[in-house]
């Protein structure tokens, strides 16, 4: 009937793209209902202020204004059963002062909501916001990690410290101390992970619609996590969970910034429920700096102890991490996600990590593409280059000398951090990347230019990263005090006409789940991927799921789909055997068709059994009608993709301008379902990491005011700034799941910032430059070349 087409391993265009490219998809802002009210947020213009009074009368008198609520009024209306949630209290004594959707008596960062206007139109709401008069009693602001750690001002006036928690991971303190006792080489380095603004193509937005008869609310939200949101809205508002339906329509990217539970979401739901009218809001770019969490924000200290040959004896790292003003969904846990990776791809006998989390009066931080792992990768990979210089070998050689298992293939390696790395094969991956980069030729060209005093100096940087994805084994998350599990749910059903419906618990926001899941079904069930439809992102269609983040969709959700398909095939086999009057054990299943072994002429395609299962006229005794199976897959371990990236930069000696002229990436994400999607993920990820190295930084003045809050000053790179990337792959299947898949969504970002900065520092090494803070701006580079402080 149907041959398998578009199965696992096929590089094919995405099913999603025609609708996206022709503008047919509906994003939250495209959806409208009658009688909707627009929210306009009155946001605090100071980083830290007590609210003395709020006069809403002027705004209330304006045309089209329905009502204005202050934080105190909302609290008095008893809309909140609990503050905004933090699902990851990393220690028992972690400080977590309440974070209300609208500030009640004190606002603690620029952009925190202090009142909300409801009006008939977006424009009326924006005009009315300007007429809400707030009197503030300004307080000293904590505007940096250093100020939080060393200064007198407190981000929360009711606390006597800014330190929210200390978390440590030192599996063997004696071994660690011994490793650092008189090492032949001792690297001690400090790095700054600047704050980043996630800047998804679609800003966030919400639309809450009460059902006409009352009692139920549908929330459309530009979210990565409709399932998590549903639980959390129920918990924070007290609304019955079964009365909530969350829909994530087309979502234009998230990068972690839509992995949260936000004040606007709670306001829309509770006000719609209270007023019986639809309530909506669409974030503006200017608002986003204060209304959506930011990424990174860490001061890192890393030390390596190594023997005379550069063989690592121990690694220890300490972070001071910027929580921002409040703990949001996983704010305190981001550093922990990276903690296990400060040993990188290396055989490190002794390891220690600690992190102090600090409150500041800045926008809260939380997950941003890579969430803790790009930071970790940056620290160890920059430190390895410093070690190489100390030992007097090349950056490639220092890595070869330290790879796990001597760089050869391994499975199930227990790292000093206590994690079990599923599989790796690092040295061949490095050699492939160096070959693709023509590393020896690059070094010769660099030497030639240095010799000739060329005005364009070449820098070559590399990074061999490993990352943790496929979040996650529920038990492991429990061990880290995370508030939920890490399974994923899938349902596969065959319709009477033989078409296949897949219900996915993981929720795409641009990744291409519909295509990839169809490819898995095509291979497993022997059908065309065109015969598969994937339903997702609506808690009414897909009641169980844990959504999309942490490069988990394929390694957890995709595997669940594969397993559900296998269960369905097993049931179909019983029907086929019944039709053939044969034993199921005598049947084989090839390319979607069942036949009795040895008599291939008589066969039935699985899609032909859909109607039999539906009609149920002649099923085996006791069998339930229909072909539908579901699986909740909880992975036994994380997955550990790895790769080698080589960045080549040219530095203009006169201007200090840095140009990324070449980029080579050899990644290993295990088995690939759709290599074209992998390629796209890597391209975007690499640019996002390079952006941290060269362009992006969220800046604040000493009073906590954002100083570059628009895209004019916050420099997100475009295609014009990046070279044509050369990508290739090695394939080392994961042992953590039956498909052998790992993950590719964050890998590019995790590898690229270190590779680019290693290249920048390499280019500047003739000037005696040993390190440089990100981003490597032309001014910073020029001043470094002048011998000035960066």
């Amino acid at each position: 009937m149907n041959a398998t087409t578009g199965g696992i391993g096929t590089a094919m265009l995405r099913k999603e793209d025609p609708k996206l490219l022709t503008g047919e998809n509906k994003f939250v802002d495209d959806i409208h209902v009658n009688g909707e009210l627009w929210m306009g947020m009155v946001r605090c213009t100071s980083a830290h202020a007590k609210i003395v009074s709020i006069d809403t009368s002027g705004a209330e008198a304006m045309p089209g204004v329905h009502s204005v609520y202050t934080g105190q009024q909302l609290a008095d209306m008893e809309l909140w059963a609990a503050p905004l949630p933090c699902a990851w209290p990393v220690t028992e004594d972690m400080l977590n002062p309440p974070h209300w959707p609208v500030a009640v008596d004190t606002a603690r960062h620029v952009g925190e909501i202090v009142a909300v206007v409801l009006a008939d139109s977006r424009y009326q709401a924006a005009d009315a916001v300007e007429h809400v008069v707030v009197e503030y009693d300004y307080q000293p602001a904590v505007a940096s990690i250093a100020a939080a750690r060393d200064g007198d001002a407190k981000a929360h006036l009711e606390l006597d410290t800014n330190k929210a928690y200390t978390w440590e991971l030192v599996p063997d303190p004696d071994a660690l101390a011994a490793a650092f006792e008189n090492p032949a080489h001792h690297v001690s380095a400090d790095f700054v992970q600047q704050r980043l603004i996630p800047a998804a193509m679609e800003p966030r937005g919400v639309l809450a619609v009460p059902s006409p008869m009352g009692g139920e609310i549908t929330l459309y939200s530009a979210t990565q996590v409709p399932h998590i949101l549903k639980v959390m809205i129920a918990a924070t508002t007290g609304l019955p969970e079964q009365k909530l339906r969350i829909i994530a329509p087309s979502v234009g990217g998230g990068f972690g910034a839509k992995l949260n539970v936000n004040p606007d979401e709670l306001l829309a739901v509770t006000l719609a429920n209270r007023l019986g009218r639809a309530v909506r809001w669409t974030e503006t770019r200017s608002e986003a700096v204060g209304s959506t969490h930011q990424g990174r924000g860490q001061l890192q200290h890393i030390e390596i102890a190594a023997d005379e040959n550069g063989k690592i004896q121990g690694v220890r790292a300490h972070l001071d991490a910027d929580m921002g003003a409040y703990m949001m969904l996983i704010t305190p846990g981001v550093a922990l996600l990276g903690s296990f990776l400060y040993t990188g791809v290396y055989d490190v006998p002794a390891f220690g990590f600690s992190c102090d989390g600090y409150f500041t009066n800045l926008t809260p931080t939380d997950a941003y593409r890579g969430a803790g792992r790009p930071e970790a990768s940056y620290a160890i990979e920059r430190a390895m280059d410093i070690l190489a210089a100390k030992v007097g070998v090349g950056p490639d050689e220092i890595r070869r000398r330290n790879y796990i298992n001597g760089g050869e293939f391994f499975e199930d390696h227990e790292a000093a951090s206590t994690l079990i790395f599923d599989s790796g094969n690092y040295a061949p991956n490095l050699e492939k990347a160096l070959e693709l980069a023509k590393y020896e030729e690059l070094k010769a060209e660099q030497a030639r230019r240095r010799e000739a005093g060329d005005g364009k100096q070449l820098g070559i940087g590399m990074c061999t990263y490993v990352e943790i994805c496929g979040l996650a084994p529920s038990r492991a998350l429990g061990g880290l005090n995370y508030g939920a599990g890490g399974w994923e749910h899938a349902t596969v059903r065959m319709l009477p006409t033989g078409k296949v419906e897949v219900v996915s618990g993981s929720t795409p926001h641009g990744q291409g789940h519909e295509t990839a899941w169809s490819q898995i079904i095509a291979t497993k069930m022997g059908v065309s991927s065109d015969d598969v439809t994937v339903l997702h992102s609506d808690t009414a269609l897909s009641p169980l799921g844990l959504d999309t983040y942490g490069s988990r969709s394929l390694a957890v959700g995709g595997v669940a789909i594969s397993m559900a398909a296998e269960k369905l095939i097993e049931k179909a086999k019983l029907i086929a055997a019944h039709q053939f009057e044969a034993s199921p054990d005598d049947l084989e299943f090839v390319d979607g068709s069942f036949s009795v072994k040895g008599t291939p002429a008589k066969s039935v395609h699985i899609q032909e059994l859909g109607f039999a299962a539906f009609a149920a006229h002649d099923l085996p005794d006791g069998m339930e009608p229909n072909l539908q199976e579901q699986v909740s897959f909880d992975p036994p371990n994380f997955a550990f993709p790895f790769g080698t990236h080589v960045a080549v930069v040219e530095i203009d000696e006169v201007t200090g301008g840095v140009e990324l002229v070449d980029y080579i990436a050899v990644d290993d994400c295990g088995t690939q379902v759709n290599p074209m999607i992998v390629e796209g993920q890597l391209h975007g990820g690499i640019v996002q990491g390079a952006a941290q190295a060269l362009w992006e930084i969220a800046m604040y003045d000493d009073d906590g005011n954002p100083t570059n809050p628009s895209f004019m000053d916050y420099l997100v790179p475009s295609a014009a700034e990046v070279p044509y990337m050369k990508t290739d792959y090695t394939v080392t299947p994961s042992t953590s799941n039956p498909l052998g898949v790992k993950g590719a969504g964050e890998a590019g970002t995790i590898g690229s910032a270190a590779a680019v900065m290693n290249a920048v520092v390499d280019a500047l090494s003739p000037y005696g430059v040993e390190d440089m803070d990100m981003p490597a701006t032309p001014r910073r580079v020029w001043k470094a070349m002048q011998g000035g402080a960066s």
């Binding site: 977006r122 424009y123 005009d127 201007t655 362009w695 100083t707 570059n708 628009s710 001014r779 020029w782």
Partner: protein
């Protein structure tokens, strides 16, 4: 990012626009390509109560050669400059500079008249017209007048245009000598951190983003006239300027860039 309320009028001609400007006065703004004005309105940094749309005056989109100069209609879009055969032959510098403005969508909306009137010290084309020794033709209630580009810019986002005047045409000399435009920025779409335009083999040198207006590098020009070498002249590029300070550059770095880029530009333009 939500502009305040405003009224919207469509001008039927330059004369009509001038008449509307007279009628609505200071509260009104001309809308051409809108790529500078509308973002300012979205930030509520500009809150005109009336927008007079001149962007539809398609008879003001032309590039033609007239007796020794090029006449360019004020509503000519950057993209038309970028792809102009007339400019390729008679003023390749302007064509090249236009190709560096913003990104393609900006260049398909922005107009030469609009960018001149906006008078942004960081914009590319005003500095190029300044280096070329161009002339701005403006229509007002009492007819038209011609203003030398060197007299046109009067302050931060300010020109000598009266509130009821509108630019109708820009003239630049044709067939002048060697030229260069050195634009230094961090992303292709950005404004210049510093830019240097050299026209006619060094007789016109102008600076982008080195003060409150597009500037003539007069010290460089006069040094060259006095016989200084290009290398020596370029050292004077920042003389008499008050460079702005922002996230990209402090005054020291801008001063350095102005000198370095002037040296490059003079070399490329063939100034000796």
């Amino acid at each position: 990012m939500i502009p305040a309320a405003f009224d919207y009028k469509v001008a039927e001609s330059a004369e009509h626009a001038v008449q509307l400007l007279g009628e609505y006065g200071d509260e009104s703004k001309l809308l051409a390509g809108g790529h500078s004005l509308i973002p300012m309105m979205k930030f509520r940094l500009a809150t005109p109560t009336v927008l007079i749309d001149v962007g539809r005056l398609s008879d003001m989109r032309y590039i033609r050669r007239d007796n020794g100069h090029i006449s360019i209609g004020a509503m000519t879009r950057h993209e038309q400059l970028e792809n102009s055969d007339v400019l390729a032959e008679a003023c390749p510098m302007l064509k090249h500079v236009a190709s560096l403005v913003g990104d393609p969508s900006v260049r398909h909306r922005g107009t030469l008249g609009g960018t001149m009137a906006h008078a942004d010290a960081a914009s590319d084309l005003p500095a190029a017209v300044l280096a070329l020794g161009g002339t701005i033709v403006a229509a007002g209630p009492n007819g038209t007048r011609e203003i030398a580009a060197s007299d046109f810019f009067s302050g931060y986002f300010e020109s000598v245009l009266a509130a009821d005047e509108m630019i109708t045409e820009i003239k630049v000399p044709a067939d002048t000598g060697g030229w260069s435009y050195q634009k230094f920025n961090r992303r292709a779409q950005d404004w210049a951190i510093v830019g240097v335009a050299v026209a006619d083999g060094g007789s016109g040198v102008s600076l982008v983003n080195m003060g409150s207006t597009p500037l003539r590098a007069e010290a460089v020009e006069s040094a060259l006239r006095g016989g200084a070498s290009a290398a020596d002249a370029s050292l004077m590029a920042a003389d008499g300027t008050s460079p702005p300070e922002d996230h990209n550059a402090d005054a020291e770095y801008r001063t350095h860039l102005a000198k370095a880029l002037t040296a490059r530009a003079l070399a490329e333009a063939g100034a000796s």
